[in-house]
Symmetry: C2
Subunit: 236 residues, 2 copies
């Protein structure tokens, strides 16, 4: 009964927070009035309160109210009673550490599997895969585990970036990093470019978005592209 929208980014260059997702969000949350926002990833270290205000402002446009989980007494009960959930981006290590600290990992998984509509952006999308081992973030805190919700059977690499052919920089490209991941792990990885998202509805997983393909990495295979509207259900 899963019903998720997992976006690469919250904001496109020149756009406002979530505005390119206006139509799919209206559809995702059509039966939801109030959405539980989990601001734990704290982009740029901003406070939970400030981050929640940004989400509230954006959701006014589709006529939904947002409640920050940090304002509620019991985060477990808050998740269990939610009509809809949104986890925004920021730092994946901070997000996962906080989810473990509040004992939320298992409850979130149950609630999302039961069909409560879920929106994730960036780090919030990452955690729907088996682990955060393909995050781009800096490990600024040490979480008790890298294991996440395993709602989809592959990992997402959000903000996927193609190598710059003119670069003289010797740091690893994103593709090299994901190939390194496959030296030690076998989970497939979807390189999700900005403007793209993944729609999970019941057992169907489909690539959506503004026209860019996604780059697919499977262990011991050459990386390849899949166009928008491709099913990703086969990736395991």
């Amino acid at each position: 009964m899963t019903n998720c929208l997992l976006a690469s980014t919250s904001t496109l260059h020149g756009g406002r927070y979530l505005d390119y997702l206006f139509n799919p969000l209206t559809d995702l949350y059509k039966a939801t009035d109030e959405i539980l926002f989990i601001p734990y990833a704290r982009p740029g270290g901003i406070s939970h309160e400030k981050y929640t205000q940004i989400a509230q402002h954006a959701f006014q446009n589709i006529g939904k109210s947002i409640v920050g989980i940090h304002t509620l007494k019991n985060p477990i009960t808050a998740v269990q009673n939610a009509q809809g959930i949104f986890i925004g981006g920021g730092n994946s290590f901070v997000l996962v550490a906080e989810l473990y600290r509040h004992h939320l990992i298992q409850f979130l998984g149950k609630v999302v599997s039961s069909g409560v509509p879920y929106l994730g952006t960036s780090a919030g999308s990452n955690i729907m895969g088996p682990c955060i081992k393909t995050t781009n973030d800096m490990p600024i805190v040490y979480p008790p585990s890298y294991d996440t919700l395993d709602i989809i059977p592959f990992n997402i690499n959000p903000h996927y970036l193609d190598p710059d052919p003119n670069s003289t920089h010797k740091g690893e490209t994103r593709e090299i990093r994901i190939k390194e991941f496959h030296e030690f792990n076998s989970t497939p990885v979807v390189g999700l470019r900005e403007g793209s998202w993944i729609r999970v509805l019941h057992k169907e997983i489909v690539l959506k978005g503004g026209g860019q393909s996604a780059r697919i990495f499977e262990k011991e295979k050459e990386a390849y592209e899949l166009p928008v509207e491709s099913s990703l259900t086969f990736l395991k």
Copy 2:
């Protein structure tokens, strides 16, 4: 008695492995014939053997022999008996996980503190700071801790990259990532550009290299630049 050279990168664009460090390495290892190479970081997932061959080839140019730690029976004894040590770059998480697995963290610290000459590049430089929380690498394995050797009292961010003013990409810049680190930690961070290195001799720590300044990040301060030949000993 510490005697370390900590480089941002092993290789400059258009150059060969370690060739821009020819002179400072000749000086670092002037009293050393045989250098213990620790290939655990496995760049791009290559084997320990192949990685060691790359190092052997480069060190022929300064007339030193290289022994890979993976060819020796007891890695702890190998470190304790080393005349010189080199840890190359790759993935910091893989490197740190392997150092812990072989119980090497404490022994390495003792040996380096006793004055055995040490070369680190990229991940191999990172681990001389208090922790790997400012690595750029993907967390492809889960190490038992992020704590490292604490030989220098600040963290290095190797391959430091300035923000691209023309970028439309919404992923975090390096500077934003390091600022996020300081929301949760107080250790200073040196953004070390490619071509730069840090020379640690006894208690003196000096920025060296091909002319580029380093970018210094301290908690609750604006980031600033320090030119080559600056002392970094004050950073704590």
